[in-house]
Every structure is written in structure tokens, then in C-alpha cells.
Amino acid sequence: MAKLTIDDLKKIKEKVHKEMSLRDGDRRVKVTVHMGTCGIASGAKEVMDSLLQEIEAAGANDVFVTTSGCMGLCSREPLVTVEIINQEPIKYEYMNPNKMRQVFKRHILQGEIQTPFVLAKGSEVIK
């Protein structure tokens, strides 16, 4: 394959602009992968890799991904928080790439919370 150039970036820009004009580009879901030292050491990077692959494969441009630091439950890492707009955040524990794929397909795309992997509902409060 030929090396990418800045012109390729321009083509991508045009393509994305066309897609954006067809529908509103609002963020429907925010997914936070906790990336503290504990998270990374227990596999958060692989979890995030699989999430990004799924988003790309599904063309799910309304899913916003972010990373955050440790929230203090290091023994339950990798942790992932899924926040669908107007719903309470769901925290998943002991995640791995396969669980992440399942959560993406069932919860993020179809709205079914994957109860067996859930740690808690709601946001953490730091005292």
C-alpha cells in the first residue's frame, strides 16, 4: 500500500464532513476506561484496544471514548464506565477484551446492561 500523505487526510476530512451533514453528530454514549497504573498493569490497554476496534468496525461515531485515572478500586481493574445519555453510569469490573466486545454490542449498541460484569451503578464520590 502506498504511503499516506496529507492529501489522504484531506480526503478523510471531506468524507467525514459529508457523513456529519447527514445526521447530527451528537454524542450518545460516553465510555471511560480507567487508565491508572493499576488499570494498565491489569490489561486496560487491551480493553481499550478492543473497544476502539469495535467502534471502528461498527462505525459508531456517537460513542465518545475517554480515559481517566485510578478510582481506588485497584483490585477490581480493569474498570470501564458506560454512560448512556440521560441514564445512570454503569461501572464494569474485571474487564477483558471479550467482555468489552460483549458490553459494546449488548449495552452500548442495544441498551442491555450486562449484569454479570457490573460492579456498581452511579458515579464515584471522592471524599
Binding site: 499516506l4 489522504d8 494498565i40 465518545f64 475517554t66
Partner: protein
């Protein structure tokens, strides 16, 4: 952590949490000098001299949610095991520079690992921060600056799947 890319991800995430708007990652692989070095420079909130001394202590952290801070001690240990060391310079309010060196051919040096994936995760998870990646392998240099990409794509966010795909391919071709 079994690969250096994971350490880089960890330290660069610290830079983002320190409020950096630009994080520079410089990697050097020099066979002639038998040197492998990683430098991470940020313009975040920086640290006081007191804090710098404590950073190497695994029982020191700025976080309130737990009582250990292992990121820097783990990387420092990985460097010492491979004939290198870790240096940290920081100015409060200006930013922090971390430089870690290894003997390139040391049997205990961890492999670099998936640096492309690490860079993609940093961009995807922190789309308001800019990243500059420079990788020198002997005489060959690869450079990627998200500010250049941002200028081209204008209003499209840096973490759009199509843009991430472009960056991944650019790095793999690198």
C-alpha cells in the same frame, strides 16, 4: 508491566492529569551507543522539589483514593534492571520532563511493545491534548505531531475513528 509501551502510556496519562496541553514522547534506539531512551516532556502543572523527591517512593501519591503510587517507581526499577536510570526534572507551574535510559542490548530490558496502540489510546482518550511523537532508530527518524493533523482536519475531533485509523496507518508505515 511487561512492556515499555505500557509504562509510556502510564506516564503520559500522568502528564494529561497534570493538565498538560502538549505531551512530547521521544524514543531513541541507538545501536552504536547501545542506548535505548524514552523522554516524556509535558507542560502540565509541574512539581515542587519536595514532591520530586517523594515521587520515587511507592508509598507516595497525590491521589486521595489510595495510598500507593507505583507508576514512576516501576519504570525506575525497570530501567535499573537494564543498566539504566530514570531522571526527573520539574518546575512548578511549567511542566515536567522524565527521561529514562536502558542498555539497548541488555537481556533484562523490556521490549518496547505496542507503541502504536499506546499512542492511539492516548489520542482517543484525551482528544483535547496534543501529542508529539519522535522515534529515532539509529539514523532514521519518525515524527508525528497531532497539532499538524488538527490543523488539517479543522472541526473534526482528533479521536474520530477515521482519523485514528489514519494515524494508526501512518505509524505502522513509519
Amino acid at each position: 508491566m511487561l512492556e515499555l509501551a505500557a509504562h509510556i502510556l502510564d506516564i503520559a496519562e500522568n502528564s494529561v492529569r497534570a493538565g498538560a496541553s502538549l505531551v512530547e514522547i521521544n524514543i531513541v534506539e541507538d545501536e552504536k551507543e547501545n542506548l535505548f531512551s524514552i523522554e516524556i516532556i509535558d507542560n502540565g502543572c509541574g512539581m515542587t522539589q519536595e514532591e520530586i523527591k517523594k515521587v520515587f517512593d511507592p508509598f507516595y501519591t497525590t491521589k486521595k483514593v489510595r495510598r500507593v503510587g507505583l507508576g514512576v517507581p516501576l519504570l525506575s526499577d525497570a530501567a535499573q534492571r537494564a543498566g539504566g536510570n530514570l531522571e526527573l526534572h520539574s518546575v512548578k507551574g511549567k511542566g515536567t520532563t522524565l527521561k529514562v535510559t536502558f542498555e539497548l542490548n541488555h537481556i533484562d530490558r523490556q521490549p518496547l511493545g505496542d507503541i502504536t496502540g499506546t499512542f492511539i489510546i492516548l489520542i482517543a482518550g484525551n482528544c483535547d491534548t496534543d501529542f508529539l511523537y519522535r522515534h529515532r532508530h539509529n539514523d532514521r527518524i519518525f515524527k508525528l505531531d497531532t497539532r499538524d493533523i488538527r490543523k488539517e482536519i479543522e472541526d473534526i475531533p482528533l479521536n474520530h475513528p477515521e482519523i485514528l485509523k489514519y494515524i494508526r496507518q501512518l505509524m505502522e508505515d513509519g
